[in-house]
């Protein structure tokens, strides 16, 4: 770890990586909270994997893959949201189909790209050490959009995710807020792809919020705690991966996953212990 701190001072790419991790934690903590409390994990997975299609097309057309990813993610979010609102009974099958089609399109376009030698692995598992200055600005911009949207519509998102029927009766356009939420989810997924890759996106999106939801009791507090935890996990994962030269994305997820298991387990044990204490007195 000390070697990492020393290298951090010397190497710009490490500073960028650390900053990318922190920026990703912000979007991740905010949107992950909604994903956890409304159980949108599967939907988030569908959006994440469809993104590969957009990135593949962008590569084939020789444009910035992040731009392609953004467009693909937003389109996927709107299609999946529409499917969910329109065909609720078959949503899992339809999302599963979109998930696979997105990936297939991506792989086909990448294989057809002239001079095909892109590292597919870096999309699937991320490469935080290659983040550029431009990408950092994009990430900061996306964070800002997400934060402003949530500040403006916090109550509506709360109402829609807590009790949809009641919100509808109060004159809210549930469909609008639902699609807006999915678009924010899509933006967050794109943020995270650079950090941990699309296979591991769901873990970083949900684990910090899933820990936080066990300890605090309102959406706002869960978001703040999830952001802090996300920042901790990305920093720790990056630091631990540096000296032994392990893949940073995988290390971040490992830290997050183990922390989740420990947090859940210790809370369970603590509750049992307290019940035991109470029955003794």
């Amino acid at each position: 770890m000390t070697g990492f701190v020393g290298a951090l001072v010397d190497h710009t790419f490490l500073q960028y990586a650390l900053l990318a991790g922190l920026l990703a934690s912000i979007g991740c903590g905010i949107v992950g909270t909604y994903v956890v409390v409304t159980r949108l994990g599967y939907l988030a997975g569908g959006i994440a994997h469809t993104v590969l299609g957009g990135m593949g097309v962008a590569y084939f057309l020789d444009t910035a893959p992040m731009g392609g990813a953004l467009i693909a993610a937003l389109v996927a979010a709107l299609i999946i949201g529409w499917v969910k609102l329109r065909w609720q009974q078959h949503e899992d099958t339809l999302i599963g189909a979109l998930w696979a089609i997105g990936m297939a399109v991506g792989i086909i376009f990448i294989s057809r790209t002239p001079g095909y030698n892109i590292d597919l692995m870096s999309y699937l598992f991320g490469n935080i050490l290659l983040v550029s200055r431009q990408q950092l600005w994009l990430m900061a911009g996306v964070d800002l959009v997400i934060a402003l949207t949530v500040v403006a519509f916090y109550r509506q998102f709360l109402a829609a995710s807590f009790d949809e029927e009641f919100a509808r009766l109060r004159g809210m356009h549930i469909e609008f807020y639902y699609l807006l939420l999915l678009c924010m989810l899509a933006l967050t997924v794109v943020l995270l792809i650079q950090v941990v890759g699309l296979i591991l996106v769901i873990a970083l999106l949900t684990l910090p919020a899933a820990i936080a939801v066990q300890y605090v009791g309102s959406l706002g507090r869960i978001m703040i705690l999830a952001i802090a935890l996300g920042a901790l996990f990305t920093c720790a994962g990056l630091g631990l991966s540096y000296e032994p030269d392990l893949p940073a994305g995988a290390m971040i997820i490992l830290v997050a996953g183990i922390s989740y298991l420990l947090a859940t387990l210790s809370l369970g044990l603590f509750r049992q212990w307290r019940i035991g204490q109470r029955s003794q007195t």
Binding site: A152, R155, D163, A167, L169, R170, M172, G217
Partner: protein, 248 residues
Amino acid sequence: MKSVVQLHDVSFSYGDRIILDRIDLAIKQSEFLGLVGPNAGGKTTLLKIILGLLVPDSGRVSVMDKSPQEGRSMIGYCPQYASFSREFPISVEDTVLLGRLGSTRAIGGYRRHDWIVAQEVMDAAEISDIKARSLASLSGGQLQRVLIARALACEPKILMLDEPTANIDLRVEEDIFDLLKELNKRMTIIVVSHDIGFISEYVTRVACLNQTLVCHETSALTGKIIEQLYGPHVRMIDHVHEAGSRGV
């Protein structure tokens, strides 16, 4: 007196199954109407038609002389509490404040007035002392009071409750109905229940719904009417709570 809710010749069916058959109902201002009937008799469906969540196959519905979609902002609605997750991380106060949506500004936080209204309705529902607690930690009776407070926070002219005491023990049930009786001085109340005997002590009129609808003044409730509604296999049983006996 003025009718606040009017249904004229309303029919509704799911596929081939007729749920409501030519319902006529006029609910007067400051009435306390009990809507009773067997399970799957169409009670919740009727409420959802009044709320404009379902559209009838035929017939006319008006709420405060407007269409249900326009008039429902005047209705405070308490759903059966199975309609959301009790594990959701939200406090009592935040739940009640959600009742202000639609009456307050669209973007940003609540106004001062919203906080004042929320405090007033929490006082009325006697839940001010638990306002910081999470929903998950409440008892069934407390949760029902929270839902009533949320409905009151809409500042409604009509309060509509779907089985408010379904999973609550009898003593708490009486507390809830005493609260409703108090609220009835200020607003019209429509309450759905499967327990005709219990509510007949509180309501001014009973509407019996089983596909078709028949109204009775509470004084006219007899075993024969209950038999017509639920079928001959239901017997009158004396519930022995307190001194009196209650039907069904």
